[in-house]
């Protein structure tokens, strides 16, 4: 196979975990710079902070302000080594457990604290 276009095919692509569950999108890619080595794509960043950073400083400030309002101190973003990529197609599969990612904290929190307390929130297909 030939080359992939980072901005066309990789950045913003849908990510799925080992179980094929959707775990966000590639919100940012980091290059690693080491002395004497050529730079290489090393890290996938998932999370609202990374997205806000892409829009601009004002968005980042807004993002931080909103999170401060809810009392979050640590930034809820995940950094996954690019080596975890298993497959690149319509979606990109990462060799990770979605539930373990910091960027999935809100999903987990909503599921356990809100959704499961409302009748009909859990079970098999509707």
């Amino acid at each position: 196979m030939g080359a992939l276009h980072l901005s066309h095919d990789v950045i913003d692509a849908q990510l799925v975990d080992r179980q094929q569950e959707k775990i966000g999108r590639i919100d940012e890619l980091l290059l690693e710079l080491e002395d004497g080595q050529p730079p290489r794509v090393a890290t996938i960043v998932i999370g609202g902070v990374a997205r806000a950073r892409r829009v601009g400083r004002w968005m980042l400030a807004l993002h931080r302000a909103v999170h401060a309002l809810f009392g979050h101190r640590e930034e809820q973003e995940s950094r996954v080594p690019f080596d975890a990529v298993r497959r690149i197609a319509d979606t990109i599969e990462l060799d990770v457990e979605g539930d373990a990612l910091a960027s999935m904290r809100l999903e987990r929190w909503l599921a356990t604290h809100i959704v499961l307390r409302i009748p009909g929130g859990s079970g098999e297909r509707k």
């Binding site: 999108r25 499961l116 297909r125 509707k126």
Partner: protein, 405 residues
């Protein structure tokens, strides 16, 4: 056989989807103030919507991706924010208006003031979204929405002058109140071409597991369904043109619109009007909050499906829950539903460029659509719709101020 069932169902869905608070209100206002003259706007709106739905449906069936998904991936997060924010703002306005429509229907039926109905409507709607699946939302409201055919019966019973109506299918300039005429034209277009409709349709193609095999179903659904739906909107305009215009009744309040069916059809007409307003607005409420949750979830990469239990897609389920309850508040505090409807239809018209223009890029992407990319007639049509959407964006605010009163 199964194919035909799907086609029939698709057509029914589009009929139910087309007629809702916006098209009922704006068509009635247009008919009351300008007779048949604005019928051409409904033809233009219906054709544009049919073309956009066919394309987003084809895109989803072939690429197995929704429009919102591709808007994010192919255009990047910075650009995606534009349609996300624009569609969110106008859809919220529209869904508030739909809840207003449901509440007015209940008020006309019971005499209990509309603002008391907003929160109960939202709670029942939320319950259906929480417990029901995509099929229930899509087909349930569509089947019940067939009562809207009563508008066609009403229009026929009033014996429209066919040649005059036929001539109104072609654009003409108004003889009086020019600003008002173009204001209503923009409102009618906003009511016909709603971004939530094609975002919902494109997500629906994935929910219903469409494949390349469904391209025929897609074409018939988008085409025929919208022809019927647009036909019912024209019927609404005709009833208003024949009941309200000769008496010089303008539609200032929602309550006046029920007279358009109570005049040709008597007591049954009043009942059908209430049922149509209730069911179509309720169905639209569910579809719009789902469309907004789809847009958010697909754009940000969350798990999403109306067929999953809420704990499997907690952020998606929380989104539609919060949105539907939020949308009930303005009606509950007594904002006038008709004013809100008019504002939201014009805002919808103004929001169209950000969702129409990117479609041109995607529909010509061979990586996504292989041999099913747009041919030149489709591209020409899409360019015309895109130009129309830019005109609407520029004209919307000045017309709201000059002709909105």
């Amino acid at each position: 056989m199964k194919k035909w069932a799907e086609v029939a169902l698709g057509v029914v869905t589009s009929i139910g989807g087309f007629l809702e608070v916006g098209s009922i209100a704006t068509s009635a206002q247009g008919g009351a103030e300008f007779g048949y003259q604005l019928a051409w706007v409904l033809v233009l709106g219906t054709m544009s919507l049919a073309i956009l739905m066919e394309m987003t449906g084809r895109l989803a069936a072939v690429s197995q991706r929704t429009y919102a998904d591709l808007l994010r991936e192919r255009f990047g997060y910075r650009f995606f924010l534009l349609p996300l924010v624009a569609v969110f703002v106008v859809s919220l306005l529209v869904v508030i208006s739909e809840i207003g429509g449901v509440s007015i229907a209940l008020q006309i039926a019971t005499g209990i003031d509309f603002r008391w109905w907003a929160i109960p409507t939202a709670i029942v709607g939320w319950f259906l979204l929480w417990r029901g699946n995509f099929t229930i939302v899509e087909q349930g409201t569509a089947m019940l929405g067939l009562v809207a055919i009563s508008f066609a019966v009403g229009a026929l019973k009033l014996h429209p002058v066919w040649p005059t109506l036929g001539r109104a299918m072609l654009p003409s300039l108004p003889s009086h109140d020019r600003a008002r005429y173009w204001y209503l034209a923009v409102s009618i277009l906003g009511a016909s071409i709603s971004p939530y409709l094609y975002l919902f349709y494109s997500a629906g193609a994935i929910e219903d597991e469409w494949t390349i095999e469904h391209l025929g179903v897609n074409r018939v659904t988008a085409g025929m369904g919208n022809v019927f739906g647009g036909g019912l909107a024209i019927a609404t305009l005709v009833t208003a043109a024949l009941v309200l215009a000769p008496r010089e009744i303008k539609v200032d309040r929602y309550e006046q619109i029920a007279l358009v069916l109570a005049t040709p059809l008597g007591r049954a007409g009043l009942v059908f009007f209430i049922m149509t307003l209730f069911i179509t607005c309720f169905g639209a409420t569910l579809e719009i909050v789902l469309a907004m949750a789809y847009l958010l979830a697909q754009g940000l990469g969350w798990n999403w499906s109306e067929n999953l239990k809420p704990d499997k897609d907690a952020r998606f389920a929380t989104s539609y829950s919060v949105l539907i309850l939020l949308a009930a508040l303005p009606i509950a505090i007594g904002m006038d539903p008709l004013t809100l409807t008019n504002i939201s239809m014009v805002a919808t018209a103004a929001s169209l460029p950000v969702t129409v223009i990117p479609l041109f890029v995607l529909m010509n992407d061979g990586d996504l659509l292989n041999t099913h990319v747009n041919g030149w007639p489709s591209n020409l049509a899409l360019v015309v719709i895109a130009l129309l959407s830019i005109v609407l964006l520029v004209a919307a605010l000045p017309l709201q101020l000059l002709g909105g009163g």
